[in-house]
Symmetry: C2
Subunit: 183 residues, 2 copies
């Protein structure tokens, strides 16, 4: 990916998150990215490609955001949730870009594919972390619960305020682990 393409993708991600997909035309996207229309279309040859490009950028940015952190125990398991709360505080609190895109363009196969793939890998993240910390147990249900809290706090933070929502999510997540005796 060239510098220019990456720069455009970053701006597409940001501007779709901030202003939505519905009432931003290509000219508005061009202005936000601060490039010529020709260059924009060279890298993203249609409006749908711009949306897909923004989602691909967000996918990479989010998994990079999850990297690092504690290496074992409960904190290792909960790290993705903690980082989501960080994201809501430090990056943006505008709901889930993937789910919003999917809701707006339910007929687009390209969008559906990247959304379901991203979320499947995210759900796997919880499964794998649980499997590593408590390999001798069936933690499928717990992984489901943590994923559900991840999705819930993303939305609730917009509505109830970030702090209230993130505290509730972390409290519920720790309680769910404690109830299974995972410490």
């Amino acid at each position: 990916m060239t510098n220019t393409k990456l720069r455009i993708a970053t701006e597409l991600d940001r501007t779709f998150a901030e202003a939505g997909f519905a009432d931003q035309g290509v000219e508005a996207l061009r202005a936000e990215a601060d490039v010529s229309l020709r260059t924009l279309y060279k890298h993203f040859p249609s409006r749908e490609a711009m949306i897909v490009g923004a989602l691909e950028h967000r996918d990479a940015a989010y998994f990079e955001w999850l990297a690092g952190g504690p290496k074992e125990g409960v904190e290792y398991i909960l790290h993705p949730l903690v980082r989501l709360c960080d994201w809501l505080a430090e990056v943006a609190n505008t709901g889930c870009l993937f789910l919003n895109a999917w809701a707006e363009y339910p007929e687009s196969k390209a969008i559906a594919a990247i959304v379901t793939d991203h979320k499947a890998r995210l759900a796997d993240e919880f499964r794998q972390r649980l499997a590593r910390v408590v390999p001798d147990r069936d933690t499928a249900d717990l992984a489901e619960t943590l994923f559900l809290l991840h999705e819930g706090v993303t939305q609730a933070a917009r509505l109830q305020g970030r702090e209230r929502a993130t505290e509730a999510a972390m409290r519920a997540a720790r309680a769910a682990l404690a109830a299974e005796g995972i410490t």
Copy 2:
């Protein structure tokens, strides 16, 4: 509300939920509602009014959906969550119409107003139910958790499948109540 207006609002709600806000023009909405363009504009004088009308219809339909149910105990508290799971199975599993609308039109005050109002009343529903069953306790945190599960399952059901998501949500909700000794 006249019969015609109600019928149009019902179709607007359904079609926005199914096909999103972004790529449905007024002509498509008209066709779904099966009325003339003039009649559509008579009841909803702008596209934004059609969106607001759909949200108002959904708001009324959802609170009506929550009516009734057990009168006491844990089942009374959890009734809205149970009914949400019913909704996902029987009505539609297309995410939250309110959050989708808000994400697409973050600049619209009319849309923001109805979305925040709807969600505030929904959060209150959990608070009031908890206050009635355990009036001598501070259940603010629990209410927050239940609301978060409500929002989470709405999204997760689209991604992980309705059954897995609803089971995880009910399990987590019952565990949260049990952890506080509410039975």
